[in-house]
């Protein structure tokens, strides 16, 4: 199988002497047409990894190739080959959905004749066609997320980097996005790289997953392989076993107070 994302000791350190290791010597391979999930608790380094793969920030050490392009030397080609759905991007809220998608399409050099039809189709897919001329400031969070998914797809890239794709969506919209991801992977042979801490989403969609904690990749494989690796029965338990969590007896410890009589 063709490797489309390859990282070689990819690292991003911050602070004096690099004491904060946001991503630490990440070695990873993602194959063409695969849906890969990067799981991790908050602050584990998931978003930093996506930013590195999309050339938004530069690595402190190591390197990576995306669709065969070096992230250090071929930034523009990497960006053309990827569509990014960021975790908390700032939409241009004073634009309408149509204007915003038209702007993003122009940034990615989508030809005018294709762009016009494609953005109408995407708006119809997400049920926002009738509201295409409304300013984004009036959209709900879920509607904004749909627009951002559409923006990531507008230039029809071979690789999609999706950072928390369903975190703000209602169940109905989340289902649309999940079905879309499945369809893009199965029928359009897109490679999809999902970052999330929503375990059921990753479990349902991903062919393989990686678990990252404090910048280091601590597990890699299919869901079954990871469950077997930790000797647990569910991905949730496996995740807690690998990344740590609060024990049951600690849950109500905060109520204990010597001498308290209320």
């Amino acid at each position: 199988m063709k490797v489309v994302i390859h990282t070689d000791k990819l690292s991003k350190y911050y602070g004096k002497g690099g004491e904060i290791k946001a991503v630490d010597e990440l070695d990873l391979e993602v194959y063409e047409g695969e849906t890969f999930g990067l799981l991790g608790p908050n602050g584990a380094g998931k978003t930093t990894t996506v930013h590195l793969l999309n050339c938004i920030i530069k690595p402190t050490g190591g390197t990576a190739t995306v669709n065969g392009y070096d992230i250090l030397k071929e930034e523009t080609n990497v960006k053309r080959a990827t569509g990014l759905l960021a975790e908390s991007p700032g939409l241009h809220e004073k634009l309408s959905a149509h204007e915003f998608l038209e702007f993003i399409g122009a940034l990615y050099d989508v030809p005018r004749d294709i762009l016009s039809e494609r953005l109408d189709n995407l708006l119809k897919l997400f049920g926002l066609y009738d509201r295409r001329d409304y300013l984004l400031e009036g959209y709900s969070r879920g509607m904004k997320q749909k627009i951002l998914v559409a923006a990531a797809l507008i230039h029809d890239p071979p690789i999609l980097l999706l950072d928390e794709p369903t975190s703000m969506l209602d169940p109905r919209a989340a289902l649309i996005v999940k079905d879309l991801i499945k369809k893009l992977a199965d029928s359009a042979r897109k490679t999809i790289f999902i970052c999330s801490h929503i375990l059921p989403l990753v479990e349902e969609l991903c062919d393989r997953i990686g678990i990252i904690n404090q910048g280091r990749l601590i597990a890699l494989g299919t869901v079954d392989e990871i469950i077997a690796l930790t000797g647990t029965k569910t991905l949730e338990k496996a995740f807690i076993a690998l990344t740590g969590g609060v024990e049951e007896k600690e849950l109500l410890a905060w109520r204990e107070h010597r001498g308290a009589d209320f």
Binding site: Y14, G15, K58, T82, L84, L95, I104, A106, L135
Partner: protein, 540 residues
Amino acid sequence: MPTSKWLVVARNEYRIRTSRIRKIRSYFPYLVIGLLTVYVAFIAPRFVSIFIDDFLALLLSQAAIAMVQIILFLIFIYFMIIPITDTLREAQTEQLEIFLAAPIKPSDVLLGEFLGQMPFYAIFVTVITGGLTAMLSPLGLDIIQLVIIIAIFVVTFLSAFWIGTVIAALLRTKFGKTTRGRDIGKALALIIALPLVALVYGLQFGGIFEALSDPMASETVKTVLGLLPSSWGAEVFVGFASNPGNIGAVGFETLTRFGGLVTFFVVVLWLGAKAANRAYSLEPAIFTASRAKPDGAFYKTVKYLGGGESLGSLLVAIFKDYGRRLENLSKIAYIVGLIVMINIFITGPRLSEKYELGVIIPLIMIQFMFPVLAAFVAGDVTLRGKENLFIFKKTPSGVGMFVKARLIQGWLIVVPIAAAVTALSTSLSSQTTFISLLTNIAYGVLIAAANVTFVLGLFLLMPAFSEKSGKFISNMLIVIFVSIGLFLTSLFGLIRIIPDYYSIDQITRMLYVLLFQTALGWIVGLIFLFLGAKNLRRIE
């Protein structure tokens, strides 16, 4: 062939800026061009005819170059500051992610953002150059001279806008990534306007025009400002005015100054494009989170003043939340700065010595700043949003305690400042006695405390949940107009109430007016506070 990326960004920026007028967007440019043509052809010539004689006399005077240099410098700084303050007020980097993820060069983003805003700045430039052309037309300048003067203005302002846009982009990246940074940005946005206000006050009231008639002062200003590109056009401008129709008379100056200006513009354009990579970056810059220190003597005193128990703790929490925002401190510094400038340039010893009322004039002037100070402090009550208010609404007797705490907090901040600035302003007058100093301080304190009461009530009665909201602006206007209205009501009310009003000496009369105004201020303030607290209980 794909459209140039800077053009895509420029079109997008223009769309964002015109989103409020989307319905007329297609014919907006024609409308503006039409209106500007009418302005340049008809309105500007009539408007400038009011002061054309003074202007021409100035242009042909010995102080002309220094004067034009100062004016150009002021406009240059003003135009440079606009994009900076605009950005600092709302420094956000989230939208950068969209640009950085796309195949576009940072210099294209910078150029696009600059050009997208340019049509609006061009309106300002046209208004200024239109007025200027009208003022110069009686001199009989030929068309080439006029075109060069207009070109000088356009290049000078373009340079200012470009420098401002680059600095704004760099500051946005520096401050926009963290909450702390955004707070610093907002604080700076207000403070950087103060030196400009000082310069304008200096020009208006500080006797700069008179000072420039002294050849030595004029020469010094010319030498110092002559180093700045903003002033290079001044010599050409004055040279043309002195030699209408004869471009050769100042040919060398024209060539060197105008050429220098164009070179300067090209250089800053190139440097800005080079700086673009730094201006568009999402690399985190700060890794130290702010940490709270244990409460010191100040907060312990505040807690004590609040009664020590729950109210005291609440008061301390409100003080910390307010005081740890640099934006709030900069607002206070801004008002204090304005009051100091009023004293230096407008009232001060000169004015107070001229009039019998000299000892009270400073208080009368600065008391109109107290409502604004009160609004900056107590008007903040609802700005953190409804959710913040709900914290108090859902706790037992939370609303009453919250209003009390906010009132005490407002008084504890505003009253000492009012006392200090009143003391300072009054002491500048040579007529001041110890008694008059104490009287003025007492009035200042009482008026400021009433202002806080009124402002708190008003902002609770008509909550503004954002500084950009129409409610906030209308509340600020209400605060200012009520303050002026109370003073005028007291002034004219007493004339009717007291039969032999004019037989009383001026100072006593004014003290009565202030006393009446203070009493009215308290009555209005308490009524609004009662209504505001009632409304807070109803807010859903």
